[in-house]
Symmetry: C2
Subunit: 412 residues, 2 copies
């Protein structure tokens, strides 16, 4: 079973939009055992749409179009699909009354242009739009399926999940399922993860094991093919066990979990609280911690001490330490961690100081030098890091390393 | 002058990667007066690459390929291009010595596979890779140009800017240039900006005026076509003036400027400092302010007071205020702003409290209710907002609104 995705809309060809529709669809189709062989992006041009459709219908079983279903004259996807399939557009009464209802609910009168949206190719299966106006549809022609979806991501996703997938599943009753599973690691460069898993990645055909590196996070992706979901899950679970034996605590989570979610869960379960004293990360660690719903249960607060005065007056860093060791030093990180712990009355105190650049470096203290300290009861653990990259990157890497220190401490 | 972009690599068809190469190239080509008519994504498949190339060469003058130039066996772009163009791959001595030099610099021995990368189609123009190993090239065939670029964004961009653009400019000496210019607004919904500029957007053909909405920021994009850069810039400047007359201070910047950069510039020029007391934004405002290089000149620090205790003990919010008005109230925002200003010794004190959700709402205080206060000398300005969206969105919108209050105050 194979597919092509055709994205329609001149705005895409101006480079102003980063396309997330096609990657989402590619991933979901793949998980259903449908291989995406080609993605095409074209403008709102009748000839280009028609020729792309014709070519795709010759090559694959399923053609998905994205966009061009709106009410304006340059939305011509539906018209061209009907032409290519040699079908007429006919009024779908049910869809029309749904559209009318939406306008009524918003107390707006329906512009005549929107009536066009209720016309669908004859014998096509309508796909309702829960979020917006434009309906999609699935049309069978020449033993091929054309799936037409609207462009806005927040309309496309629910329509595909709730309307298109059930139809496709029923239509094809796929013999093979694809189950994917992701293990997330931090603290090791991609090359090191690859080295540790080299034999597995080379030899294992089911699941296929591959890596995907983000900033300081390396995902290990398992993709298993099996007769049914259960068998696929079992194959992945066995591989997960083998990988965990090799990488241990470098694995911090699964799927789309973030470090801050994992820490949040651990803090919540262990009934511990945390507070943060940030310098070079400038609030990023607090921002990440508070992105997690319910973080007020364990995150008490933080002080972003950018000036020496704030470090001294608000965190109790000693004047002598600042003068002798400098603001970017192990000792200052340590006093920041202890200071914020005392001030906030938290179990953990995290202190970070460093040089994010582009200015502020000296010969002994280069850009990217960062000290992180974690205080808990009477003990303080301190680490020195040297990160590479520009300002934003150093902030991100330092925040990641700090969060990972908390995670590892919680796992002790 | 028209072009197509062919992205090559099976990883793209799994939906794991968000493509930024093609949008970047589309934008740059457009700015050079070259219209991108189609973008195609295919796997590392010889037949698919060959047929896509053949089709594209029939349709357009310039075909840009991305990816498949690496040293591994699945990198076959070069081979297929040579086949389609009926050219041989020949060793380019200069490129070989450059590759050898790179391995020497890193004190690594060069694997034999990398020698393959020094082979280029006969008579092609090599494009050097300043960042990585794989060279690109431009090949002329059938009165068409094939531009082959490597996939990694950080290699592709410098190669295109430094190597490909000069060659293309010289080769085509374009008669028409396209100049684009962006005005950034905040504080108005997209529909309102569209209403204000309706006649301009409908009537003006040169520059073309369009909108692009991000989270709480609406960009107004001007694209002028002209004989030369100067005339293009003049057309845009005239339009800019007309738009500024209508939207005034809603326009906060141009190009890719961020609110925090604009504020940073204003604070720096006026020799003012700022400190922030954050609750519901959880550190995001401080993070954004400190993303700007040199922010230590005017940003003194912040306190993220998530707990009532932090608000009371660290910011001097009165116990009575917290009890009577609740933590999310105008009065608390006001005391937070005054408190942080006093504590940090800054000119401006910014205080934010609100309910980011998903929990914490009451009947009178719904999710999205946010109070922002800005203190300067004896005066405090307070505003109430009701933002919609999930937690991350509310944090982002509140941070944006707070930064905009600072900007507007600085412009008084």
């Amino acid at each position: 079973m194979n597919a092509e995705i055709i994205s329609i809309g001149s705005e895409h060809l101006l480079g102003e939009i980063i396309d997330t529709d096609a990657p989402y669809l590619a991933k979901r189709l793949q998980e259903m055992g449908i291989e995406v062989e080609r993605e095409i992006t074209i403008g709102d041009d009748e000839e280009a749409i028609a020729s792309s459709l014709e070519e795709a219908l010759r090559r694959v079983r399923i053609v998905v179009t994205i966009g061009g279903l709106g009410p304006t004259p340059d939305d011509i996807t539906k018209k061209v699909i009907a032409q290519v399939a040699e079908e007429q557009l006919v009024l779908n009464e049910e869809i029309l009354s749904e559209i009318e209802k939406k306008f009524e609910e918003e107390k707006r009168s329906m512009p005549p242009d929107n009536i066009r949206q209720a016309f669908l190719p004859r014998d096509s299966h309508p796909l309702k739009n829960r979020v917006g106006i434009a309906p999609g549809f699935i049309l069978e022609t020449r033993n091929r399926l054309i799936v037409a979806l609207p462009g806005p991501y927040n309309e496309l996703v629910p329509m595909f999940e709730e309307e298109a997938i059930p139809y496709l599943k029923e239509r094809f009753k796929a013999k093979e399922v694809i189950k994917s599973f992701t293990l997330r690691t931090t603290g090791l460069p991609e090359s090191k993860v690859a080295e540790e898993l080299e034999d597995i990645m080379k030899k294992s055909k089911n699941p296929i094991v591959s890596l995907l590196a983000h900033e300081d996070i390396v995902d290990i992706r398992l993709v298993a093919r099996a007769e049914d979901e259960k068998t696929g899950e079992k194959l992945n679970a066995e591989m997960e066990k083998r990988i965990r034996e090799r990488l241990g605590n470098y694995i911090f989570g699964t799927g789309k979990q973030t470090l801050e979610e994992v820490i949040g869960y651990l803090l919540y379960m262990r009934k511990r609280t945390i507070a943060v004293a940030e310098s070079c990360t400038g609030g990023l660690i607090s921002h990440r911690l508070t992105n997690v719903p319910g973080s007020s249960h364990y995150f008490l607060g933080s002080i972003v001490a950018y000036s020496d005065r704030m470090k001294r007056d608000r965190l109790g860093v000693k004047k002598a330490t600042l003068e002798k060791q400098g603001a970017v030093s192990e000792k200052v990180a340590c006093e920041m961690a202890k200071g914020i712990r005392r001030i906030a009355g938290s179990d953990f105190g995290l202190g970070i100081t460093g040089i994010a650049g582009p200015t502020g470096a000296t010969e002994e203290k280069p850009i990217g030098l960062v000290y992180i300290a974690l205080a808990y009861k009477d003990r303080v653990e301190t680490k020195e890091f040297r990160f590479r990259g520009e300002r934003g990157m150093i902030k991100a890497k330092a925040a990641n390393a700090a969060l990972d220190m908390v995670r590892r401490d919680l796992l002790r």
